[in-house]
Amino acid sequence: MTNSEKNRLKDKAFQVFGVFCTFIGLVVLAIFLIDIVIEGIARIDWDFLTSLPSRRAASAGILTAWAGTIWILILSALIAFPLGIAAGVYLEEYAKKTKLSNFLEINIANLAGVPSIIYGLLGLELFVRFMKLGGSLLAGALTLSLLILPIIIVTTREAIRAVPRTIRDGSFALGASKWQTVWYQVLPSSFGGILTGVILALSRAVGEAAPLIVIGALAYVPFVPSSPMDEFTVLPIQIFNWTSRPQAAFLTNAAAAIIILLLITFLLNGVAVYLRHRQQKKIKW
C-alpha cells in the first residue's frame, strides 16, 4: 500500500468515526425524547394544563407550575435585559483598556461558568434573608437574573463587536456623541444578536430548579401567583417533585410536564434562531 493510499484510508476512517460521534449524541437524545413522549403524551390534555396540583396523580395539573415559569421568565427578562445590555455597552464602548477593565472582563467570563446552586445560595442570603423578599417570585427572578447576567453581557459584547468600526467612525465624523452613536447605530445594528443571546440565556433559566429550590420555592403551591411577591413553583421543581414520588402515575405526570417544559425551551430557541437569521439577512456589511 502506498503512502497516499494509506492517507486516503485514514481520511475515510476518520470520516466514519466523525459521523459516529455526531450521531451518538443525537441518538441518545432521540431515544430519551421518544421514551418521554411515549410515557407522557397521553397524559397531556386541557385539564392537565389547567388543574392545580393534587395529592392524587390522576387529578394533578401543572397550572401553577407553568404560570410560575412564565412569571419567572418575564421578570428575569425585565431585570436582566437592561442590566446586561448596559454593562455590555459600557465594557465594549466606554471602558478604557485598563487593568481594572481586564479584571472585570475575565471575572464576568468566569461568572458564566459558576454552578447555578451557588447562585441559589447567593440569592438566599441576599434577596430572601437580607432584603427580606422571602421565597417570592421576585427573589427567584432576581436570582435567575444574576445567573444569566454574565451570559447576556458576553453575548451583548459579541453582538456589539460585530458592528464594524467604520459605522462608528461614520457616525462620529458627523458630529455624533458616543451615546448617540451607540443609540442610533450600534444598538439597532446589533439588537438581533443581543436579543438572540438574551433568549438563549432565558431558555437556560427556564430549566433551572436547583437555585430556586435553594431560595425556597415550594413544590406545592395551591394557587396561581398574582403578584411578584407571591410564593411560586416552576415546572422543573414540579417535575423534580413528581419524579421523587413512588407512585408510577406521578412518573407519567412528570413525563407530561417534561414535554411541556421542552416545548417552552424549543419555542424560545426557535425564536432566537429566527431572529438571528433575520438579522443576517437584513444587514450585510
Binding site: I167, D169, G170, F172, S177, K284
Partner: protein, 253 residues
C-alpha cells in the same frame, strides 16, 4: 492672488503611546483647493488627516503636541467641542460606510443628531446634498430603500452627500476611491474636482495618478515626516527631494 490658508499645522507632533507617528509637521492648506497627502503605508498621512477632525481622540494612548488651526483657531484648545468641530470638518472614509438605514436617513443623520426634526428642512437638505454629490438622479426614486442595496461607488457618493448635509467647509477624504472600480473611482474624482469650488478638500491617497489628477497641492510624507509640500504640478514634474522623486517614480526602497 494668494487665497488665505484654511487649515494649518504648527509644529505638530503625534504619538501612539511610545511611537512617534508625526514629527514636527508645519503646513498650511489653501482654502477651496484640493491638497493630497501621499506617501508609503504607515508614513503618518492618515494619522495627520484624522487630527483635523480629531478622529484620533478615541484611540488609547494617542496624543499630540503643537497646534492645528482651522480658520486661525486651535481645534485642540480646551474650549473646542468636538461635535461642533466635526460640523465644520466632514470626513469620508476608505471603505464606503453607509449606515444600515434608508438612503434618506443616511443623508439626514447628521441633522437628526443635531436635533433637527423639521421634515421640510430634512427633505430639502437631503435633495441638495445628493445633487451636490452627483447621485440624486440615481437614487431619487428609492430614497426610502436601504442604502446597503447601492453599489460600492454609489455608497461612497452617498457617504459624501451625508458629509455635505451638515454643511462643513472642509472635507477630509481618506483614500475615498481605493475600494472602488475604475469607473466609480473616476466619478469620485470628478466629484472632488466639482466640490473644490465650494469646499476645502484634503485627500489621502495611495494612487499617485489620482493625486496628480485631482489635487492642487501635494504633501509627501515619509516615516512621520513631511518631506515635501508643493504645488502638485511642481511635485510631479520636478520634485525637490530625492525621496519624493523615488516615491513618485515608483523606485522606492
Amino acid at each position: 492672488m494668494k487665497k488665505p490658508s484654511k487649515l494649518e499645522a504648527i509644529n505638530l507632533d503625534a504619538y501612539y503611546g511610545d511611537f512617534h507617528a508625526l514629527k514636527s509637521i508645519n503646513v498650511a492648506m489653501e482654502e477651496k483647493a484640493v491638497t493630497a497627502f501621499i506617501g508609503p503605508s504607515g508614513c503618518g498621512k492618515s494619522t495627520f488627516l484624522r487630527t483635523f477632525n480629531r478622529m484620533n481622540d478615541y484611540i488609547d494612548g494617542f496624543r499630540i503636541d503643537g497646534q492645528i488651526l482651522l480658520d486661525g483657531r486651535d481645534i485642540y484648545a480646551n474650549d473646542v467641542q468636538v461635535d461642533e468641530l466635526r460640523k465644520e470638518v466632514g470626513m469620508v472614509f476608505q471603505k464606503p460606510n453607509p449606515f444600515p438605514k434608508s438612503i434618506f436617513e443616511n443623508v439626514v443623520y447628521g441633522l437628526r443628531i443635531q436635533g433637527i426634526k423639521d421634515k421640510k428642512i430634512l427633505q430639502e437638505t437631503c435633495e441638495k446634498s445628493l445633487r451636490q454629490a452627483a447621485i440624486w438622479d440615481e437614487v431619487k426614486d428609492k430614497l426610502d430603500k436601504s442604502a446597503l442595496a447601492l453599489s460600492g461607488g454609489q455608497q461612497q457618493r452617498l457617504c459624501i452627500a451625508r458629509a455635505l448635509a451638515i454643511q462643513p467647509s472642509v472635507i477630509l477624504m481618506d483614500e475615498p476611491a481605493s475600494a472602488l472600480d475604475p469607473i466609480s473611482s473616476a466619478k469620485i474624482e470628478e466629484l472632488i474636482y466639482e466640490l473644490k469650488k465650494d469646499y476645502t478638500i484634503v485627500i489621502v491617497t495611495h494612487n499617485m495618478q489620482q493625486a496628480g489628477r485631482v489635487s492642487d497641492y501635494t504633501a509627501f510624507f515619509y516615516m512621520g515626516e513631511l518631506v515635501e509640500y508643493a504645488k502638485t504640478k511642481t511635485m510631479f514634474t520636478s520634485p525637490h527631494d530625492t525621496r519624493t522623486q523615488n516615491y513618485i517614480t515608483g523606485r522606492f526602497g
